[in-house]
């Protein structure tokens, strides 16, 4: 079992938030620390004015069945799963300071689920020996 999970959340498509939520919650359940680094197209979804992520057009035929199946299982939204994971275990969500600057975002623009705005050096040294997952 690894020391922890370092999840680099780069994508912004709706379906990518499902593995983010499930992997984070599972690690928290197992007592494995998780550090999420939000960058790239994922950043807008971690701000106070977060839009609703959209599914990839290529797989749109599958989306109605996916949503119906998730509704039947009463699956919570990715955001609520992530929030619960933070309450369950050692989970921290960091926003990439470079991407924030590029997009003109300040700390006060970020969603409360975000712990801090940090650079890549901080993230790398704080996740040394962790298993890296790029989403």
């Amino acid at each position: 079992m690894s020391k922890g999970l370092a999840i680099i959340m780069f994508s912004g498509e709706a379906e990518k938030f499902i593995p983010l939520a499930v992997l984070t919650q599972t690690a928290a359940n197992l007592g494995v620390p998780v550090r999420v680094f939000v960058t790239g197209y994922a950043l807008p979804y971690f701000t106070k004015n977060k839009p609703q992520p959209r599914f990839t057009k290529e797989f749109e035929d599958m989306v109605p069945a996916l949503l119906e199946g998730m509704r039947k299982l009463n699956m919570p939204q990715w955001y609520d799963i992530l929030k619960e994971a933070k309450e369950t275990g050692d989970v921290k969500v960091y926003v990439c300071s470079l991407m924030a600057e590029v997009m003109g975002l300040k700390k006060e623009d970020l969603d409360p689920i975000v712990d801090d705005m940090v650079g890549a050096a901080f993230f790398m040294t704080n996740t040394e020996g962790y298993q890296v997952i790029f989403i």
Partner: protein
């Protein structure tokens, strides 16, 4: 006699049943028996993995009519 808690996670999908178990586990005192009912087909190997990782004991693990019943003794807390 040790305290017994039942967690009904029937109808929930992965990682819901383990999350619900962990929620109860966090509040439980050592020695407590936690009974989990789940229909998630992945629950059996998941609960075994969870117990092994967290140092808790599985007292019972059985499936009947599509419902998996796991009884865990809280031994992973100091």
């Amino acid at each position: 006699m040790s305290e017994r808690i039942t967690v009904d996670a029937r109808g929930m999908a992965c990682p819901g049943p383990i999350t619900k178990l962990v929620r109860a586990y966090r509040k439980a005192s050592p020695g407590t028996l936690i009974e989990v009912l789940a229909t998630d087909p992945g629950f059996k190997p998941d609960v075994e993995a969870w117990a092994k990782r967290t140092g808790n004991e599985i007292v019972e693990l059985a499936e009947e009519n599509g419902v998996i019943r796991a009884v865990i003794r809280v031994t992973g807390k100091k």
